[in-house]
C-alpha cells in the first residue's frame, strides 16, 4: 500500500469514506452507538501501531493486552487516585508502556517468532495476574473508577472527538512511517532477516524501535480505554481481547493500514450486531484466523488488492514466466 501515484486515488477515496463514517455515530444521537464507536476508536489507536509491529516487521506480539492494562491502570491511578492532570496522566501511561516495551523487547526481540509470541503471551497473563494480586495499587478484583477528561472532551460526544483526533494522528504517523524508508526497512526485516542485515539494517533494533512506539500508543490507548469504560477491573483485560487486536491485523492483511482498520471495525461490530455470536466470540476469532491463514495468508487487504487491480495483474502474477512489458512500461512512466 505504499502509494505510487496510481494508487493514491483509491486511498483518498478510502480516507474520505472513513472520515464520513466517523461522523455517523454522533449524528445518530444514540449514546450507545457513540460508545461503541469510541471503544473501536480506542482499540484502533492500539491496533494501528501494533500493525506496524505485526504487519510490517512480522513480529508476533500477542500480549499487547498487558500494555493496554498497564496504560489503563496508570491513567486511573495517576489521574484518579493521585489527582494529576488527565492529559499528563495519559502521557505518563504512554511513557511507562514504552519503557516496559523497551525492557520486554530488549532480550526477547532477538529470538525466533514463536519464542517472542510466547514471551508476550506470558506478559499478558502476568499483567492480569498482578493486577489481581497487587490490591493496594489496583484495588484487586473490585476495580477502580477512571476519571474523565476536562471540559470540551467530557461529554460522550466530546470524548469521541478526542479519541478520533488521537486516532487520526496515530494513523497519520503510522502511514507516514510506513511509506517512508522506515516502511521499507520494516518489511525488509520481515521478509528476509539476512537480506536486511546485508543492507545494513539491524533487525533487532528496528523491531525494538517499532515495539517501543507501539508500546507508547498502547499506553495512550489504555488511558482512553479506562475513560471509555469509566470503571476498570482486571477482568476487562482478557486474553481474548488481546486476541482480537491480533486477529484483526492478520485478517486485514500485513503491510497495509486500511486492511487492519477494516478488520478491527468488522471484528468489533459483528459480535455487537449478532448478539448470539457473543458467546462464541473467541471461537469465532480462532476460526477466522485459521481460515485466513490457510486460504488467504495475505489477509483480506491482499484479496481486495488482487480483485481491485483487475485480471491483468492477476494473470501476470500467476504465469510470471515472460516479461510483462505492460507493467514494466507502466512502472517506468510512473518514475
Amino acid at each position: 500500500m505504499v502509494g505510487p501515484a496510481g494508487q493514491r486515488r483509491p486511498q483518498t477515496i478510502a480516507a474520505a469514506a472513513i472520515a464520513l463514517t466517523v461522523l455517523v455515530p454522533p449524528l445518530t444521537g444514540n449514546l450507545y452507538y457513540v460508545h461503541v464507536a469510541t471503544v473501536i476508536g480506542v482499540y484502533w489507536i492500539l491496533i494501528a501501531t501494533l500493525n506496524l509491529l505485526v504487519g510490517y516487521t512480522g513480529t508476533l506480539s500477542i500480549g499487547h493486552i498487558g500494555l493496554l492494562a498497564i496504560g489503563a491502570y496508570t491513567f486511573a491511578i495517576l489521574a484518579g487516585t493521585v489527582g494529576w492532570n488527565s492529559y499528563l496522566a495519559l502521557l505518563a501511561g504512554g511513557v511507562l508502556c514504552a519503557s516496559i516495551g523497551l525492557l520486554l523487547g530488549l532480550p526477547s526481540l532477538r529470538l525466533p517468532g514463536f519464542y517472542f509470541a510466547m514471551v508476550t503471551t506470558a506478559f499478558g497473563l502476568i499483567v492480569s495476574e498482578l493486577a489481581l494480586a497487587e490490591g493496594w495499587l489496583t484495588n484487586g478484583s473490585v476495580g477502580m473508577a477512571a476519571p474523565t477528561f476536562p471540559a470540551p472532551f467530557a461529554s460522550p460526544d466530546g470524548f469521541y472527538t478526542l479519541v478520533t483526533l488521537i486516532g487520526a494522528l496515530v494513523t497519520w504517523l503510522c502511514w507516514n512511517l510506513a511509506r517512508s524508508m522506515w516502511g521499507g526497512r520494516m518489511m525488509a526485516v520481515r521478509d528476509s532477516r539476512i537480506a536486511a542485515l546485508s543492507l545494513g539494517i539491524p533487525p533487532a533494533r528496528t523491531k525494538l524501535i517499532v515495539f517501543v512506539f507501539s508500546g507508547f500508543s498502547a499506553g495512550i490507548a489504555g488511558g482512553l480505554f479506562a475513560t471509555s469504560q469509566s470503571y476498570i477491573t482486571p477482568d476487562a483485560f482478557t486474553f481474548n481481547l488481546g486476541l482480537y487486536f491480533f486477529v484483526s491485523i492478520i485478517i486485514g492483511g500485513r503491510g497495509s493500514i486500511i486492511g487492519p482498520f477494516i478488520g478491527a471495525v468488522l471484528l468489533a461490530l459483528i459480535p455487537e450486531l449478532v448478539g448470539s455470536l457473543q458467546k462464541y466470540g473467541t471461537f469465532f476469532y480462532g476460526a477466522i484466523l485459521l481460515a485466513v491463514v490457510l486460504l488467504i495468508p495475505g489477509g483480506f487487504g491482499e484479496l481486495a488488492a488482487r480483485i481491485g487491480s483487475g485480471p491483468k495483474a492477476g494473470t501476470s502474477d500467476a504465469t510470471g514466466t515472460g516479461p510483462d512489458l505492460g507493467r514494466l512500461h507502466e512502472a517506468i512512466t510512473r518514475l
Binding site: L60, M118, A122, I126, L130, I250, F283, L290, V293
Partner: protein, 285 residues
C-alpha cells in the same frame, strides 16, 4: 515442606511431559505448536467425561482419552501444519496452531463448562498426604514417557526413521522415506502422549478447559530451559519449573507463579538461548 516438594515434582513432571511433546513435533516438523498444552487439557477433560460422566471402566476411559488425543494430534497436523509448511512464510504455523488451539479451547469451554471439575481416582486409596496418587501418577507417567521415547528412538525401526527425518529431512527423503507421513505420525504421537500426560495429571490439575494455554507456556519454558530437542533437558527443565512454581506459591502466594516463570524464561534466553542441554542455534544463512 515435603508436600511442597512432592507437589512441585508432580507439577514438574507434567511440565516435562509437555516439553517432551513439544520435542516430538519439533524434531520432525520443526514446528512448535501453540496447542501442545491443549493436548493435555483435552486428555484430562475427555478422561473425566468418559469415566465420571459415562461411567466407563478406567482402562476404557484411558483408551478413549488416548484415541481422542491421537485424533486431535492428527487434526493439528492436517489443519494447522500441513498446508502451512508448504508456504514459504516461516511464521505462519505460529498463527495456525494458535488459531486451532483457541478453537479447541473455546469448544471445550462451551461443551464442558468453564469450571474446573474433579478428575476420578484411578486407584483406591486410603488417605492423601505424601503418598497421594495425584502426585505419583504424573511422576511415574513422565518417567515412563521419557524412557519409552528413548527406547523408541534408539531401538525400533520407526524410531530410527523419526531420528533420520529430524536430523536431515532432505536426506531422509532422498533415501525414500515418506517424510510427510512421518510428520503426521509424529503429531499423532504427540497428541497421544499429551493426552496421556493430561490423564495422568488429571487429579492434580482437574479437568479444566483453561489449562491449555498455561500448560503450553509452562511446557515451552521447560523445553526452552532444557534445550529444545533434548528429552533429558525437557525433564530437567520441567522439574525446575515445577519446583519453582510450587515453592513460589508456597512462600509468596499463587499470584506470582507466572511472573517468576517468565523471569526464568527471560533469564535463560538472555544468558543461554540454546538451553541447558540443547545444541547451539545455527545461523540461518
Amino acid at each position: 515442606m515435603l508436600l511442597v516438594l512432592i507437589s512441585g515434582l508432580a507439577l514438574g513432571a507434567l511440565y516435562g511431559m509437555t516439553a517432551i511433546v513439544y520435542n516430538v513435533t519439533y524434531s520432525t516438523a520443526k514446528v512448535l505448536s501453540f496447542g501442545t498444552g491443549h493436548f493435555a487439557m483435552v486428555g484430562g477433560i475427555i478422561g473425566a467425561f468418559l469415566i465420571l460422566g459415562l461411567h466407563w471402566p478406567i482402562w476404557a476411559g484411558l483408551l478413549g482419552c488416548l484415541l481422542v488425543g491421537a485424533l486431535f494430534g492428527y487434526a493439528t497436523e492436517l489443519l494447522a501444519v500441513r498446508r502451512v509448511l508448504v508456504s514459504s512464510d516461516q511464521h505462519l504455523w505460529v498463527l495456525s496452531t494458535l488459531a486451532l488451539a483457541i478453537m479447541v479451547q473455546e469448544a471445550m469451554g462451551l461443551w464442558w463448562g468453564t469450571d474446573p471439575t474433579p478428575f476420578p481416582h484411578l486407584f483406591a486409596q486410603q488417605r492423601g498426604g505424601l503418598l497421594d496418587q495425584k502426585y505419583w501418577l504424573p511422576i511415574i507417567a513422565a518417567a515412563l514417557m521419557a524412557g519409552g521415547l528413548e527406547i523408541f528412538y534408539r531401538h525400533t525401526l520407526l524410531g530410527k526413521i523419526f531420528v533420520a527425518v529430524s536430523e536431515d529431512d532432505f536426506a531422509a527423503r532422498a533415501r525414500g522415506l515418506d517424510t510427510g507421513r512421518v510428520r503426521t505420525l509424529s503429531f499423532v504421537m504427540a497428541g497421544t502422549l499429551g493426552a496421556l500426560s493430561g490423564f495422568a495429571a488429571g487429579q492434580l490439575t482437574f479437568a479444566d478447559f483453561n489449562l491449555g494455554t498455561t500448560l503450553s507456556l509452562a511446557g515451552f519454558i521447560a523445553a526452552a530451559l532444557g534445550g529444545i530437542g533434548s528429552s533429558l533437558g525437557a525433564m530437567v527443565g520441567g522439574v525446575v519449573m515445577g519446583l519453582l512454581t510450587a515453592f513460589t506459591s508456597h512462600f509468596f502466594g499463587a499470584e506470582y507463579q507466572k511472573t517468576i516463570a517468565i523471569g526464568l524464561l527471560a533469564l535463560v534466553l538472555v544468558s543461554r538461548p540454546q538451553g541447558l542441554f540443547g545444541r547451539p542455534l545455527m545461523r540461518d544463512v
